[in-house]
Amino acid sequence: MRDFVAKTALGGIEPRKDVIGSLTLQERDDIALASISARLGQEEALKARLETVCSVVAPKPGRSEQGENRSLHWLGADQYLCEEALSGPLVLARRLVDELAGVASVTDQTDAFVRMDVSGQGVVDLLQRLTVLDVEQMLAGAFSRTAIHHVGCLLRCNEAGMAFSVYAPRSYAISVHHALVEVSKAL
């Protein structure tokens, strides 16, 4: 039992990095995620509480807000995704359960998604071929769920036209990575 080896979502020991022309794809295994859903009637109370515990305002639809240690992404009406640096299994979710007690339900999503950062010249051309979103119009902080190769993924713009993060379901990590790599090569 003690001989288990922790692997990243893409199957490596270290997070995978691909450099294809001017584009860089970087797998991230150092982030924690937890989804937050407001309890019925607690929608406004949750927004206020989030501002206190995440040091950032609750994002508006289609947006992501970056705080000092945590960022919040808008997932749906009265639903958010919280992200911070990984400090251990379930740490973020357990903290949020306490911090948001009574106003929200919290689910750990750290092992549900893998984040892949895509950056460099041509990233807009790459994503235009993979999603129906108007990627060229996305500004820093834009966040949306979208389909990439028929897989429901989350997409955040970190720097307009230059840097994006794709959050793919972990069970589809290799398929989505394959799509990103193959389309990057074909640009």
Partner: protein
């Protein structure tokens, strides 16, 4: 076709899936005396208008919200979009 999402703005229709007549929100009370007849009508009978039609669309590849979309079935023009939960609440459904 572009659907103007009430929260997210204009989104491609390919992100949505279609369910059908928005009258499906008005599910009959199963404890009513006439429940059997009401459920017969609810399940089997639909209006099929040539013109304005209110229908349910699901934002499957987006925020997974249900919308009530008012669409002209002859021109495909979309006249209005609302969150289905807001429509249901206005009708006294849900909480």
């Amino acid at each position: 076709m572009i659907i103007n999402h009430p929260l997210l703005g204009p989104r491609d229709a390919s992100e949505f899936t279609y369910l059908g007549d928005a009258a499906l929100i008005e599910r009959p009370d199963w404890q009513s005396e006439t429940a059997q007849d009401e459920f017969h009508d609810y399940v089997y009978l639909r209006d099929n208008p040539a013109g304005t039609h209110r229908e349910l669309w699901f934002h499957e590849q987006g925020d997974r919200s249900w919308l009530v979309v008012t669409r002209n079935t002859m021109t495909h023009e979309i006249l209005a979009t609302e969150l289905a939960r807001d429509v249901a609440r206005k009708m006294g459904r849900g909480k």
